[in-house]
Symmetry: C2
Subunit: 334 residues, 2 copies
Amino acid sequence: MADGSEVALRELAEYLADDMAACNRAIVERMDSPVALIPQLAAHLVAAGGKRLRPLLTLASARLCGYQPDATHQRHVALAACVEFIHTATLLHDDVVDESSLRRGMASANAVFGNKASVLVGDFLFARSFQLMTDDGSLKVMNILSSASATIAEGEVLQMSTQNDLSTQIDQYLEVIHGKTAALFAAACRVGAVVANREGAEEHALESYGTNLGMAFQLVDDALDYAADQAHLGKTVGDDFREGKITLPVLAAYAAGSEEDRAFWHRVIEESEQRPEDLDHALRLIEQTGAIRITLDRATEYATAAREALDIFPPTRLRQLLQDTASYTVNRLR
Amino acid sequence: MADGSEVALRELAEYLADDMAACNRAIVERMDSPVALIPQLAAHLVAAGGKRLRPLLTLASARLCGYQPDATHQRHVALAACVEFIHTATLLHDDVVDESSLRRGMASANAVFGNKASVLVGDFLFARSFQLMTDDGSLKVMNILSSASATIAEGEVLQMSTQNDLSTQIDQYLEVIHGKTAALFAAACRVGAVVANREGAEEHALESYGTNLGMAFQLVDDALDYAADQAHLGKTVGDDFREGKITLPVLAAYAAGSEEDRAFWHRVIEESEQRPEDLDHALRLIEQTGAIRITLDRATEYATAAREALDIFPPTRLRQLLQDTASYTVNRLR
């Protein structure tokens, strides 16, 4: 992806290049295990890359709060790796749950190594993330990250419960994306403030930034599933559609649809009865009803709130980069 | 099961009846979630019962070390629940990985709720277990339990790597069962000593007891898969056989087999080419070669080591019950 979002993230990653390099080293190091399949599968994940957005948020938040690591003890780096492990574990399990064969444009781990390996290596990474927290030794950090892990799982279960259900309310959908995405963004930012001993207004502001950024990010992601071409997106367009996942584009198109349109949505989403031409028809209905615009308007509100949350910090280059990240997250699709 | 092992465990559970009741309450309470499917699936697991052997070990170890909880703060109870959550999470994921349809004689959670729910609720229970550790607040306890969680996942991955592979060495098999079973038994016992502030010889003795008991327990479990009748066992006899799982009964029968026998094992285990009559033939070969006896002799060695590890404690009724548990674990099959 070479769109606006990528540019902002690349600049942020460049600004924090030393921290990111240390974080990548920590990730590779702590993924190691005498059980050969674990580093093998881990290497596949590392090769697949990904933007490492969540660890970047931890590193940036710590630095924004003035954190100064000493040479031997880089808490923000270890915790950034920890956040990435939690995220990678949920990705591995998501791909099993969704039966996805593509992830970031590459064959997903479950497609290459099988579902068993993905479930078990996901468990290993969860456990390893808790070891990283324990090594850090702050009860507050552990509380933030273990609560976020529980919230993620709850969000995923709730998403499963709403699957194929067009009577899902928008509030329930927002609760799902808060759990599955925004909670970890928020936790990633908060721990940055905590390692810098800024446990008051700054911690609160960064939590708000992370939550709102995560909401915007997931809304745009859900829009992309109905709006991007496959090569550009690095994932299969229409995945959510085929799985009968309830996202805002579908809820908005359903709400604004004619009786005939609603019958269509019932058949394809609730009864999972899909024909080859149905995705194109769904894309047309989503365009006609302005469902993408509705989704992006919501995303823009969250992105604005994310930007504004950082106003309490001095206007540094780093603050600007984080605020740009929020703007560009939405502009991926505008 | 109303065999010797059950009697010893029942006596132990009765001796610790108040602690176990508190632990059961904690389990139900901390399995709760606003996401309805989580307590629903949890209720299924609670109904399925199980012996709650691992939390019992935590409670018993704490009491053996003289732990006296105050009325408001029962660390041993919360950590016993935590241990059970880790165990239940791994069971949920195991059943998905193994595609099991029976667990403790009842339909397994994945058979009733589907694989997706089992993966995600397993993740929730893992996360909840880490919240319980965090609430406890001891870094040493967190270190013991998060390391055990990583070791369990490594053991499961190693087991997957040895599946269908008759060239697996007995040492590798022992490493698998140490990871998948003995590590959590050991951790469950150790944290009992830690909450009682007995972090020297007693902690070491209880760790040794737990490790050896876990090894004995898993060896007998693996023997049962080729030796018990289904109603008695509460699981399908021949599950391991059908999955091509490498356990000591198979390794011992293979090692002692004729050329013809080895060709049979190659076909059914390595090539997974099984016919309806093969299980009976496998059971005959296992009996002829004394493979069950070989497995139980190993189990007896571990059980003896477990019993002896507790000799440093005063000869109380509780010590006797824990030592009996070790003996009866093996006597399940004698």
